[in-house]
Symmetry: C2
Subunit: 312 residues, 2 copies
Amino acid sequence: MRLRDLGEFELIERIARRAARLPSTRDVVLSIGDDAAVLRPRPGEDLVVTTDAAVENVHFRWDRASPRVIGRRALVANLSDLAAMGARPLGCVASLVAPGELELGRVDGLMDGILAEARLHACPLVGGNLSRGGETSLAITAFGACRRGAALTRRGARAGDRILVTGSLGASALALARAERVGAPIRRVPRPRLVAGRALARLPGVGACIDVSDGLEADLAHLLAGRGLRAELDTRHLPLPRGFRAACEELGLDPAALASAGGEDYELLFTLRPGTPSERHLSKRLGVRVTQLGRVVKGARGSLPPRGWRHF
Amino acid sequence: MRLRDLGEFELIERIARRAARLPSTRDVVLSIGDDAAVLRPRPGEDLVVTTDAAVENVHFRWDRASPRVIGRRALVANLSDLAAMGARPLGCVASLVAPGELELGRVDGLMDGILAEARLHACPLVGGNLSRGGETSLAITAFGACRRGAALTRRGARAGDRILVTGSLGASALALARAERVGAPIRRVPRPRLVAGRALARLPGVGACIDVSDGLEADLAHLLAGRGLRAELDTRHLPLPRGFRAACEELGLDPAALASAGGEDYELLFTLRPGTPSERHLSKRLGVRVTQLGRVVKGARGSLPPRGWRHF
């Protein structure tokens, strides 16, 4: 069965029925089926909004990942932005553009993937839009809430700040390299660091925070470039996934390069003022391993790195 | 110059600069440039969320309207949904998918159109996303706020309710027919009925409300179908735009059919309990002409209409 075999309203009905199976949250007053959804943040909360799109043959390929994994990853990209702001999810809307000849099973898979992540992170799908188009694209907008004035931002790094990252880096880039080189399907779905982000927002001494979506180097530049700051990193400290070095060697790839340039790991990269708690203490507070990569120093990008250090 | 001649970050910079020229509102805490935007609804307000997409060759054609008109219409479709909920706009995000060979002038035009409507209705563009793709599509998500529990909805129509509509119907369908038949460019940008929607939300005795995006017949069905209700309308009462009959005759079109089936007029269609104020009084309260089209009666769609009445 193809998408075109169902009318727009039947398809919305179909998706709404699946979405309604999710446990309700007290943030949602009115969900799919009206001109708009109604959400109710708690008193004293700010609203956090982010949007991200997954486009066929640009961000995903049908032959490289299942529709369910593609759908999950699409929502994760948004949830990760909420995590980087220290927000809790309130809900999301999805705008799907797809050709009439798309198999209905793929649409179901995409939606099931979105709904699976929505359930995992209490981020109900409260609305959306369906349109015909020549290629498939999925634009998701997610909303979250955080304590008034307490959102983490990309601004706020200072010279002397420690640079830290949650979890490990490189797994997404490795999965992509494997898909490209040996045709291995991408099964990995990164975990948005929502719990860690919220814990971080409560921590004194946070400078700046971003999620690693473009890759460590690029995302560090988002925090430091244009502020007269640069990073002094010890790449020996890069937290790599288990078995990562061996897998890289098999493919003839440089582990450190892959881990520092590859994107879509969705770990949180943040700076803390000097004198803030130890990595061990932070790991406990954030519920995930935290690794210090280096520190923020004054100076423009491109200055000569001392031996053993890498500058971005 | 083509889209591909600019990097993603340069393009975001370019759009952010234009967006920053808009007057700021006190609802926006953090705008374009971070992982997410931060908005601050007022205490006691609910959050209203809607999303709508405009896809090349489905919702618009480059040869039928200017990029600016296409951009304006894309935001209006979203603002109209906020109006139908009785919400005031807080802000919006735009996700643009476009081919690398798209002329930069078209991207600028789209964005200028969005920003022009954003300025008109105090709905700042606070974020977005840019992606490559084979065709152009623009998914906008708009957020609004309304008094807690006071959002208008599609539910709530009852037998005996009056059926009313703001403004006039048919102008968008006529513009489209002209574009198709005589190649006249579409210049018309419907006005989202935000002021009227907010006034309606404060009015006692409102049943249901929807904006006329699919056409009067289809949108009435959204309010009544499946509830054991139908509409009894006197089509002689259809409010037509000035010069509409003559323009329809020129093209050999039936004015009443065009006005009741054509979409994208973005007027508010709503029901009021019996005994609510007169059309004249309502027009004053809502700041726009209000016309009573008929009333809600019990019964399924398809029953035989009495002479002079049309049933949907």
